[in-house]
Structures are given as structure tokens and as C-alpha cells.
Symmetry: C2
Subunit: 305 residues, 2 copies
DNA sequence: GCCGATCCATACCCGTCGGGTATCGCTGCC
DNA sequence: GGCAGCGATACCCGACGGGTATGGATCGGC
């Protein structure tokens, strides 16, 4: 399977073999045997060109997921065996500072809490979740994909534009997406794709928040981001609410097969925290939750596997 | 990996070997090699008893998922290769009749629509999704687990109690959960667990809707279920709205790695249909759904173990 | 239009792994 | 203490995974 994914990605037996650290002929045979065992043609090969069949491209998508799951399983198993009990929480560096601090404090106060290690990624924290480097993550929809993960919503917030303080728009009390998009002097920054490449465009290439803020302060770009990320603005930057930007939802996410008690506690703590802050700000009453919870729990356990 | 999961589930090398169709000694060696390659002890074995280590139970959960994913990958690949392009849609038999009919009609009218085969399961349609028998499913939260699936919400409905027409409660215009729970003469029916066992309790054992309705008509049990499932009530049954039962959300769900054009079209059709019928039927706005639904999903999935 | 480069497939050889049977060693239980 | 049950070990065999050498087809360049 590893072999097939390598060939399907490279579309070249020689390069795939090199990537796998084996010679080309064994790879060729392995793929042939694999196809014969499945009874399905996965690759169309001429002596000059390799391409995927319909079935092959289906299997490529599935195979990538399987390989990721296997790597994840191995990492998690090894961690469960060697280290002290702990949870690894992944999130984007610089995002949701307050929420994270509150969550860690509240969870540490729980009975039976285990150590929580932080994994502050530059981007794509969900990737760490999929490949087993992390047990749980804070993600921001719609930016991060929650495909294949279990999630609980923690909160929803608006977005703000970060502008150089000297910029005309910075004095406005609020702006619209159209205002920000229509700034030829401040083209949007370009973040790397998961594969490491950058999209085309006039803006500067950035890969972390420090770079970004410095470039904004220098009048080279601007960005629209969740409110909470502006907690620690450096001098020379001004945040202006963007009225019609899509709302950003912070969710706590974990892989669907987790059965760990510690993870369940952390998730429960996080959702309780989120609900209590809703209580502060709105009319949700406790007894409504009290009515709803048992009924739901009952129904839930009927569907429990 | 298959071997390890078998042993971990049986906690007995002999039975596991039998289940796998091999002899016991090769299995023993395979597990030993597997542990050595991982560098992790997965099983504690005395000559009389086998038990899982912490790492072993982590790997069991992950391994089950991986094996399921592999079986699914194989099925989907084979289907992509041999049959005409088609989609398999799984749902519970008897549920969401109207919605399903509308969806099939609307999708069939799309340009580029492929054949949609139906898989009407007795329960657990999400299982067919995980193991590759189906490409897409209609699920009902919080009954069905959407763990590891991508979903879009289609609609939300209340629940009704199905009662024998002769029962005193059947003449009420509405009831509460407490009314239904407090009926010693109509104990709730017991559905089989995924493993085939039944929970304890006084109610009759059932495994499909026909049985259930007949037992209700005979005055042996009752059930609380989504409104739309009552479209085709047999004689002798009466449906009464249950005011405080948790709302049931119908979602369309698919495995997160699908990249098929046909599936994307079907999902788009379904969500478009859902939004247009929401517009028709009242003031429920999209952002309210976004706020309200997750609370239900949350409690349901936390209680699912 | 032919030659050479490229690239996948085949042929052949070797070591390890997965399968089997026979048997040993340990542990409860009667 | 004997016996039954169960996992581990010993030993053997065929198949698979790895390597090198080479063939056959196709595309590009002169």
C-alpha cells in the first residue's frame, strides 16, 4: 500500500522507488502483485507514461488516509507505552490565547487530570491530529478542516482587519470585506499550502504571525483574522472590526476513535467552560441544560457503539 | 495488525487463531515479532491468561479503525473499477421517507447525475459508510454517531410517541418525556447492540420497525421517534408529539476522504433542498441552526462511548 | 528516419517471513 | 499430584520482498 501511494503520487516508478529506498524492479513487481490480488487495474502504464485509473485515484485517497492512520496508531501506541500519561494539545501559535489559558487552568483543577503538553504549530494543527503527534486540537472553522474528526464547538467570534496605524482605514470604527479587498497598496499575504508551495499573487509570503505583523506594520500587507488573535498587537498596528467577514468558530477536535478518559475529561472541561461563558453573556438557563442533558444522554447511549 | 486485533478482542491465542483460520503457533510468533518491531509490549501473558497493556488497548482502538478503513478502501476501489459509476446511499429503513424521495428526484434531475443505489439498513447505517459498503448516508443525530464522518445538516424535527390507539395517553394532544417514561405497562423496546446482544430490561427485543409497530399495536411497548418516521402508521397506532424530547437532526454524511464529483453533487443537492424547505416552512434562519444544533450534537457524542 | 536515452517489465538469485506440525513448559483445578 | 488447557519453542517448507542484469517499447533529437 505504501508502495502504491508512492507510485500514484509520483506517477513514476523510478522516482517512487528512490523515495521508498528500494530498487525499481521490486517496486514494479509489488504493484503488479497488488493489482492482481485486488483484481483491479490501478495504473495505466505505457513504457513512457504512468497514469491513474478511476479505481486507482479512489484507492490513492483511501490509501493516504490509511497510511496516516497507521502512522498515527504507531505514534500513539508508542507514547502510551513509554511516557507518563499525558495529552498533547495542538493549536495554532498565537491563536485563542485566553481560551487556551482558561482551559488549561480549568482542566488542571479536575481530579485525575494528566499533564497537557502543547504543540504550537505554524499552521495545520489538524494535521498533527491525523498523524498521531497530537491527541486533541483547537481548530478554527472555516479555516481548518475538521474532516474525519470529532468536534465540539467552543465559541464563535467575529473577525477584525489588522492595519498599519497610519493607514486611512485604521481610523474607521468598522469596515467591510469589500473595503479591505479593495486595497491595492496592501495585497493579502500568501500562506504556504500544505505541500509547501505558495499561491500566486502580489502579496508577500509569510508563514507565521510574527512575520505577518511585522509586514503589516511596514505597510506591505494586511490581514483579516479572528478578534481574539489581536490580544497582543505590536505597536504600529490597529485592529478594525470587519462587519461582514464570516464568523470564526473555535472547536475542540480529536480523532474519532479515542477512548481515553483524560481526553474525555478535557473535552468536558472545555465545553463546560464554553457554556459558562455563554451563561455570562446570555439568557441560557441552567435548568434548560438540566432538562436536556439526561434525555440526550439516554438517547445517546442507545446509539452508542 | 489483523492478527493483533483478533488476539486483543479474544484475549485468547487459540480462539483468535481459529477465527483467523491459521494455527496457533504462527499467530504467537507473529504477535511477538509485531511487538518487537514496535518496541512496545502490547499484551501481558501468563500461560493461563492474556490481557491488554495500556499501549495495547490504544492500539486496539486504532487498529480496528485501520482495518475498517482498509476493508472500505478495497470495496470502494473494486466498485470504482467494475461497476458503472454509481453512488450507494445508506439510511435506516422507514426513516425520512419524504426527504429521501425528494432528494433522489432532485438529484436525478441534476446534469451529470449517476445512478443512486439504496442500502436500507435495519440499524447503524454509519457502519456501512465506515466499511465501504455505502458512499453516503442519511443519519439522525443524536441516535447515530457521526464520528469520523463529514456531515451537512439537512433538517431538524421534533419527536413523537407512538402509542396503541386504545391507550389513555393516545388521546392527549401532547405529552412529555416523563409521561412516557412512567408507563410500566409499556416498557421501552430493547434494540440490539452492534455486537448482537440486547440490553437488560423488561421491554421486548426488536430489531426492525415492522416488529416494533406490531408490538406497540399489541400494547406491549411504546417508542419515541422522529415525526417523519410516523408517515406510514399502521391501524391501531396513534402518534402524540413529545414536547420536551430532544430534537432530531437529519444529516447527510460521507467519509472524509471522498473526492468524487457525483458525491459532491448529491450533497450540494441535499443542502440546497434543505435550505429551500426551511425557507418555505418558517422563520428558522441558517445562523440559528448553526448556533442551536451543535449543543445537541455535543451532548449526544459525549455520552457515546 | 534512425539512434540513443528513458523507463517499465522480466529473469534470476537470495534471505526472511508466514504457514504448517510436533512438542515443551507453565499454571490452575480437581 | 495428576491432568487439562494454553502459550512458547523447534523445525521444516513455500512464497514473498529484496537485489542485479537485461529486455522491449517509446519519445526526442540530430
Amino acid at each position: 500500500m505504501r508502495y502504491f501511494v508512492a507510485v500514484a503520487e509520483e506517477l513514476h516508478f523510478g522516482r517512487a522507488a528512490q523515495r521508498l529506498g528500494i530498487a525499481q524492479p521490486p517496486l514494479s513487481r509489488a504493484i503488479t502483485r497488488f493489482e492482481r490480488r485486488l483484481g483491479v487495474a490501478l495504473l495505466e502504464r505505457t513504457s513512457r507514461r504512468v497514469s491513474l485509473t478511476e479505481a486507482g485515484s479512489v484507492l490513492l485517497a483511501e490509501g493516504r488516509a490509511i497510511l496516516g492512520a497507521m502512522a498515527a496508531a504507531e505514534r500513539r501506541t508508542r507514547r502510551a507505552a513509554t511516557s507518563r500519561p499525558s495529552l498533547v494539545l495542538a493549536t495554532k501559535a498565537g491563536a485563542c490565547g485566553d481560551l487556551l489559558a482558561e482551559l488549561l487552568d480549568a482542566y488542571a483543577a479536575e481530579p485525575g487530570a494528566v499533564a497537557v503538553d502543547l504543540l504550537l504549530c505554524e499552521s495545520q494543527p489538524q494535521r498533527e491530529l491525523h498523524d498521531g503527534q497530537a491527541d486533541v486540537a483547537l481548530l478554527h472553522q472555516p479555516f481548518d478542516s475538521t474532516a474525519g474528526l470529532d468536534t465540539e464547538i467552543l465559541n464563535t467570534e467575529g473577525q477584525i482587519a489588522i492595519l498599519p496605524s497610519a493607514h486611512p482605514l485604521a481610523s474607521r470604527s468598522r469596515v467591510r470585506m469589500a473595503d479591505v479587498d479593495a486595497l491595492p497598496d496592501l495585497p493579502p499575504a500568501r500562506w504556504p499550502h500544505p505541500d509547501g508551495g505558495y499561491p500566486d499573487g502580489p502579496g508577500p509570503e509569510v508563514h507565521n504571525q510574527t512575520q505577518l505583523f511585522q509586514l503589516i506594520a511596514l505597510g506591505r500587507t494586511t490581514v483579516v483574522m479572528p478578534e481574539s488573535s489581536s490580544a497582543n498587537l505590536i505597536d504600529g498596528l490597529t485592529a478594525v472590526p470587519v462587519l461582514d467577514a464570516p464568523a470564526v468558530t473555535t472547536v475542540i477536535a480529536w480523532p474519532p476513535h479515542s477512548r481515553s478518559r483524560a481526553l474525555a475529561d478535557l473535552v468536558r472541561t472545555a465545553t463546560a467552560l464554553a457554556e459558562s461563558s455563554v451563561d455570562d453573556s446570555g439568557p441560557l438557563r441552567t435548568d434548560e441544560r438540566g432538562d436536556g442533558q439526561p434525555a440526550l444522554a439516554k438517547v445517546g447511549s442507545v446509539s452508542a457503539e
